[in-house]
């Protein structure tokens, strides 16, 4: 089964599936609408074991870090490299779109077509408001905000609502408690957790057999649904976001290759598996088991930083959202004729980073709402931005997930001790 899973998940198969899915989408075959349920079923299967896997992996990582005595150093290195990576990503996410928008002057026809697209997608007015809000009836429900939103007050509620961040925080605290308890009493359940982790990985490998089908079923319908006209109308945004994303997808390959002294083509081939899974599922956390397996077993990174960082990083550090928000803000400024000074650009980057944290635990179109915090300080219209972003979100969501996975993966590699990955180097010629 493992051999079959590895054979099916070869880079050539994954790339072929993506290309085939894009071709099907562009051709807009009528049968594509029937593929969506298959895709949803595939995502459901992949999601099934994510939370059990995290509940097993995070306590094991905590134990590993606390017992080895290097946990503090590793955490410090992870934090440093995380900050560096966020800074580099933010700079690229600002400079590339700004350069593209500066060489693509906005003419009246582009503005008209975008306006028509907006008008067709908007069903009503931009803002519905009460002139006298004191008299308006409030129907909003009370929601927890701030740090309280991350505290797993009820772990069972968090599990049942698929609230991965709270589950991760609980698992980290519980894992630390288990390590201390193990030292005091000598009683340990870490063996059982290792078994659970192995079971989860095995189940992931079974479902990995369905990856090509999942890619086709999940990628082709949204491409067909959007149609080529939308990309033509939103060409400036599409070019900027795609160009930035391609550059940022190349970056981790180069970083990992240099750090572990591997051939870039080999690294690309290895990280393609979690990336294609990200394209299909649009959910970085689902890719965590595959990414961990890739980093530890195939590329040869130290397991400790990987186990410590990847689950938390995939859940919390959303590089894709940073890039998306920064690009979208510059695009709306470009549409509305709003120039950006250097200070403005720094502020756009900083606000995009902060807004990305507001998307934690939020999936889909709802995850676009925090962009309002980036747009409004510059007087840019969230009401204009949102419908346009929603239109292209089926595709933008795939790219965001890819960036979330790809840009988190080099951080444990950079934070780990330099290690010659014998397993990986042996495997390299096979490609």
């Amino acid at each position: 089964m493992l051999a079959l899973s590895k054979a099916i998940n070869r880079p050539s198969v994954s790339i072929s599936a993506v290309v085939f899915a894009i071709w099907l989408g562009v051709m807009n075959f009528s049968f594509l609408e029937y593929l969506q349920p298959l895709g949803d079923m595939y995502v459901g299967l992949m999601q099934m074991c994510v939370l059990p896997f995290l509940l097993a992996t995070i306590p094991l990582a905590m134990r590993s870090a606390l017992t080895s005595g290097t946990g503090g150093k590793i955490m410090a290195r992870i934090v440093i490299w995380l900050i560096v990576t966020i800074a580099v990503v933010s700079i690229i996410a600002i400079l590339v779109p700004r350069t593209i928008f500066s060489v693509m002057p906005l003419d009246q026809s582009v503005s008209s077509r975008i306006g028509a697209l907006f008008g067709a997608s908007a069903d009503g007015v931009d803002i519905e408001m009460a002139l006298n809000p004191d008299l308006a009836v409030s129907t909003g429900s009370q929601q927890t905000s701030g740090l309280l939103a991350f505290i797993p007050t009820n772990i069972f509620a968090a599990l049942s609502s698929n609230d991965s961040l709270r589950v991760i925080i609980f698992a980290a605290i519980f894992g630390a408690g288990m390590v201390v308890s193990e030292r005091r009493s000598g009683i340990s359940v870490f063996g059982a957790l290792k078994h659970i982790q192995a079971v989860c990985i095995m189940i992931f490998e079974w479902f990995n057999l369905l990856v090509p089908m999942g890619i086709i079923a999940l990628v082709a319908p949204p491409i067909a649904h959007l149609g080529p006209d939308v990309y033509a109308v939103l060409a400036p945004f599409v070019y900027a976001f795609f160009a930035t994303s391609v550059l940022l997808l190349i970056l981790p390959i180069i970083v990992i290759s240099l750090r572990l002294r591997l051939v870039p083509a080999f690294v690309f081939g290895r990280i393609l598996n979690p990336l294609t899974l990200a394209i299909a599922t649009r959910n970085a956390l689902i890719c965590a088991p595959v990414a961990l397996e890739t980093l530890k077993d195939e590329i040869g990174t130290s397991p400790e930083p990987c186990d410590l960082f990847i689950p938390m990083g995939f859940a919390v550090i959303r590089f894709g959202n940073i890039v998306h928000f920064a690009t979208a803000t510059l695009f709306i400024g470009y549409l509305m004729g709003r120039p950006f000074s250097v200070l403005d650009l720094v502020l756009v980057a900083a606000l995009s980073i902060m807004a990305s944290f507001a998307t934690i635990g939020v999936a889909g179109v709802a995850g676009l709402a925090p962009i309002t915090a980036v747009l409004r300080p510059f007087g840019l219209s969230y009401e204009l931005a949102l419908p346009l972003l929603v239109i292209v979100d089926p595709i933008a969501g795939m790219i965001r997930a890819m960036l979330n996975v790809a840009l988190n993966m080099p951080i444990p590699v950079l934070a780990s001790r330099r290690r010659v990955a014998e397993v990986a180097m042996v495997a390299a010629p096979a490609e």
Partner: protein, 298 residues
Amino acid sequence: MCLNGYFAAASCGFLKWRARSIALRICWLFALALILLGITAAISPSRSQELIQRPKDTEAIIARGTIRVAITKFDLPAFHWHTSNGGLRGPEIELVRRIGRLLKVGVEFIDDCPTFDSVIDAVDSGRADIGVSKLSQSPSRILHVRFSEPYLVLRQAFLFNRATIGTQAGGRPPEDVLRTFNGAIGVIAKSAYVGFAERNFPDAQIVEMQTWEDSIEALVNNRVDVLYRDEFEIRRVLKSNPALNVRFGSAAFTDDKSYLSFAICASCVRLQQFINYQIADNRVPFTLSGLLASQAAN
């Protein structure tokens, strides 16, 4: 002979008495007729006075055989418009014609009103019995004419310059700026929105434009920051010119509405009830989505 003479004398006396009695009765009848005539003559001036002073209502319209309807001389797409042959069409016109049919009178359109307020003036002055032209009820208008129940309720709305409002908001939601707007608001002159703007946005500079087209041009050329009208007209502008969506946004007020009604002469109580009944019974009700989708609106 003597007996014959006696009988002749008696017969002659009876005849005289009889003739006198008949003459007396005729005199009585004549006197009675004179009294009745006098009474009639006495009361007839007050009745005619009453007929003159009695308030105008359906009776007067039916007696005249025509209901006079004031409308704006400019078209209101999707509501009423002039056809190429000079006729009038539109849902408002159809509703008026239906009212005319049910009253069994003809409909005379007085379509020379240059503004919305002049439609109200035409009804107020008695030149027209009713007025219809997307007329909003407003406190000042209610002092001059009656209004029917609304045949359509629309939210009041803004068409605003996104950049201007965004800059003024300075990071706050645009609602905060719009709610207490103090910039230049464009409204159609002599429309209910002049009063609405004065009431709802006392700190704003209200710029009255002759036509809606002038208002849109003023917004596009940055002479005003927002336009104030009903949701239908705001959405119609963006629908008919989608390119404007990039520069201009729309906001509808959930708690301030335009009640579009017939203006009815101040004394026409029964006519008001009659029109209310027809509005309630209207087989083709006015809806925002229906009006926006209608070909006439585009």
